[in-house]
């Protein structure tokens, strides 16, 4: 079983079983592949280099839309223009955090630097946002319903399995954030 992250003399430490590390690695990889910007044949390489994407548009996938939301609530046009200037670098910074977290999964004893912890916390958060969309978590009641699913022996379909995975990542992120808050006090 995984051990909760905690803050101590060595910094933020945690422990994960091999199966848990495999699970997290595949979750991180899934979100990375969702976020990889599509390469277009007629793309201006210089524009891409500075992060411009004149053809960016609001994602049709709900989970991706939650990761890359509009910057204005009631102005799709201005949001789209902003997206064209910012979305590519946002995707890249998210991918960077997910990759950094995945790289740390090569051993079961985890010792996180402050930068590692930041990458882990945003990576876990992005994974949870995607899982929550797949589980149709729309409000606190939905979240509570999913949260009640705690028994791995009862995972008989995709949804209950996803719910268990969601609860595991929630527990892991909560323990990490508590450790990070403790490190702020130190």
């Amino acid at each position: 079983m995984a051990k909760a992250f905690k803050y101590g003399l060595k910094g933020i430490t945690g422990f994960l079983e091999p199966a848990e590390r495999d699970l997290l690695r595949s979750l991180f990889d899934d979100v990375i592949s969702m976020l990889e910007p599509e390469e277009r044949p007629n793309q201006d390489p210089l524009a891409a280099l500075v992060g411009l994407d004149s053809e960016a548009r609001e994602p049709s996938d709900r989970a991706l839309r939650r990761l890359l939301p509009n910057v204005m609530k009631d102005d799709d046009e201005a949001s789209l223009e902003f997206r064209r200037y910012t979305e590519r670098s946002l995707r890249e910074s998210k991918i960077g955090a997910l990759k950094a977290a995945a790289l740390g999964l090569d051993k079961d004893e985890l010792v996180l630097t402050p930068a590692d912890a930041r990458h882990w916390s945003t990576a876990l958060n992005d994974v949870r946002l995607v899982l929550a969309e797949r589980l149709d978590i729309r409000d606190d009641a939905d979240a509570e319903h999913v949260h009640r699913m705690q028994d791995w022996s009862q995972a008989e379909d995709v949804e209950s399995y996803l719910a268990l995975v969601y609860n595991f990542t929630t527990w892991l992120q909560e323990s990490l954030v508590q450790a990070m808050l403790a490190s702020l006090e130190a």
């Binding site: 500075v50 992060g51 411009l52 939650r66 990761l67 890359l68 939301p69 509009n70 910057v71 204005m72 609530k73 201005a78 223009e81 902003f82 200037y85 910012t86 670098s89 946002l90 910074s93 998210k94 916390s121 945003t122 958060n125 992005d126 949870r128 946002l129 929550a132 978590i137 729309r138 409000d139 606190d140 939905d142 979240a143 929630t170 992120q173 909560e174 954030v177 508590q178 990070m180 808050l181 702020l184």
Partner: protein, 121 residues
């Protein structure tokens, strides 16, 4: 409409592509904008509070107050500034996975272009 670009810190001043012909839209830096954080059922309360403390440098008390406002009221204005500033904050919040938008601080309607006083004709 002018657009600020929140690129990395080492790419400043590389963003003036295209000439903005329509500069009559008021986006002067002295018009205040708000950064709004919206509630969602996924983000942990502890995490939201941590982000407010570490990114904005808010005290624990202030971060928790804003976090609870998001949770209970559905949204909270967590920062003010020029359009460019709050847009930069919004991108940072999206980086953390928080649901952030920007809006003009002047809550009323109108504003912007037409400044006509009194109807003619």
């Amino acid at each position: 409409m002018t657009l600020s670009v929140a690129l990395g810190p080492d790419t400043q001043e590389s963003t003036q592509t295209g000439t903005a012909a329509s500069t009559d839209v008021l986006t002067a830096p002295d018009i205040p904008w708000n950064l709004v954080i919206w509630n969602d059922p996924v983000n942990l309360m502890s995490y939201v509070s941590y982000v407010f403390r570490s990114y904005f440098g808010y005290s624990e008390a202030k971060a928790n107050k804003l976090m609870l406002e998001v949770h209970k009221k559905g949204r909270s204005i967590v920062a003010h500034g020029s359009k460019e500033q709050v847009e930069q904050h919004a991108v940072a919040m999206h980086g953390y996975g928080l649901w952030a938008t920007v809006e003009k601080a002047t809550g009323g309607q109108g504003g912007g272009t037409g400044s006509g006083k009194g109807k003619r004709g």
